[in-house]
Amino acid sequence: MKEPKLSLHYDIDGTDFLAAGSASSDTKRILKQSGIDARVIRNVAIAMYEGEINTVIHAGGGTADVNIYDDCIEIILTDHGPGIENVEQAMQEGFSTAPENVRALGFGAGMGLPNMKKYTDEMTVESEIGTGTVVTMKVNL
């Protein structure tokens, strides 16, 4: 694959749920400056934000990498959390292991992963119990 035109890297703090979303917000701001179609930017922002929130609430934080190529935007979320036991099940709408305190904050409907799939053109979830999870998403330009 060709070199990306631009690469962004973020550390996602897993200790402060209320502060989560700053990586997605920053990415959105930078994409807006690059003249990319607003609808594409929104899809990237929603998918990345869902992933960023997952990294915080399910995995204790991690990293986000965004690579902007001529023909697509790639988002990679990496964590060293507990991993996902059954990825196929986790991808189902409504499946969630989020605890009550997360629900009280407005999340935990089990819509994140299916939503990330819906808003992107390609998505892979690699996860191993005890090792962590890597979610890779691509949105075509």
Binding site: L105, G106, F107
Partner: protein, 118 residues
């Protein structure tokens, strides 16, 4: 409908975004679960919610929304106001409950996206 009209109809207090009050918006949604907003909302530019935390602003920001209305007398804190300011968004707060707040806006012409305007 202009955001200033929304504030007037709901007797809402403006917490930030005074300079954006003359912006026109065309549809709205009401939800307390941000998961649902992210999954089901389409082009609505106003979010009415009883949930008050910074993730409400983040969610609205990702969805390109212009205005958040906190219902049931909930007041946003400084963190929320600062985030909204950065995101160029209006924050309103009303004492009305969700049902009445939505109903007032709807009956005055601000419909959801599932209903075509007559």
């Amino acid at each position: 409908m202009k955001i200033s009209k929304i504030a007037e109809l709901l007797s809402a207090e403006v917490y930030t975004g005074r300079e954006l009050l003359e912006t026109s918006v065309y549809s709205a949604c009401g939800a307390d679960m941000m998961s649902d907003v992210l999954a089901f909302v389409k082009d609505q530019s106003v979010l009415l919610t009883g949930l008050v935390n910074p993730q409400v602003v983040r969610t609205a920001e990702m969805m390109d929304m212009r205005c958040i209305v906190f219902v049931r007398g909930k007041k946003p804190d400084q963190t929320i106001i600062d985030l909204a300011k950065q995101a160029n968004m209006v924050i309103l707060a009303t004492g009305l409950r969700m049902y009445c707040a939505c109903g007032l806006l709807y009956s005055n012409g601000l419909v959801g996206t599932e209903v075509k305007k007559q």
